[in-house]
Symmetry: C2
């Protein structure tokens, strides 16, 4: 029992949301916008609603499956809204930010701006084939 005083007694507090543990509030944010495509999708949605194919054209390197999955996750997380405007094909589906999603806009702008600053130094801009 004496050894108790040598143990690490600093209580480490973490966040818990539905059985998931987050060691830092930044982890919570990254769970919403992390991954390869979410910030890109959200960045293109921030100026208004977009159709599925419009998003695809903005992201020439994403596969349909992945775009679809990411959109569904963002929808499940309450960040974006999916609205179907037709009953029969050809379908018209529009995606837009929810109010909760709009709360991310300043952050998205800042992420984009830091990337642009880095690009100024290190990147070249090329046109996709």
């Amino acid at each position: 029992m004496d050894s108790i005083k040598f143990m690490d007694t600093r209580a480490k507090e973490v966040y818990k949301i539905q059985d998931k543990f987050y060691p830092c509030s930044t982890s919570i944010t990254m769970d919403f916008i992390g991954g390869k495509w979410k910030t890109v999708i959200l960045f293109y949605l921030k100026d208004g609603c977009k159709r599925y194919n419009e998003l695809r054209k903005e992201m020439p390197m994403v596969t349909e499956r992945t775009l679809s999955l990411q959109l569904k996750q963002l929808e499940d997380d309450g960040v974006i809204r999916r609205e179907v405007h037709t009953l029969k094909p050809p379908l018209k589906v529009e995606y837009s930010l929810t109010d909760f999603g709009k709360s991310l806009i300043p952050l998205l702008e800042m992420i984009a701006q830091w990337g642009r600053d880095v690009a100024k130094d290190k990147a070249e801009v090329v046109t996709m084939p």
Copy 2:
């Protein structure tokens, strides 16, 4: 040749940094700070340099291997600096933000703040066993 006018002629420009393509400036930023642990590490380094074991204690769920790899990536990306202060064991190694890394601080603060706002609604704070 007539069909050329039906093709998607909007030139899609992307960023290129050392053979990697980025469809959006947000992707560049996320390549630096994305993943499960980088924002956490950077957030804990933003107030000054930390030793390896100090970082471990802040992140009770990270494995040594992963922490080590993430630190090395951040170092290779020029975001943090690694300084060795002893020649023989026990070693003293300190990590700190570079000037480039410090340019991320406002962004890190904003990421943390958005996460805190969400936590206020949805998270509980628990003490790690």
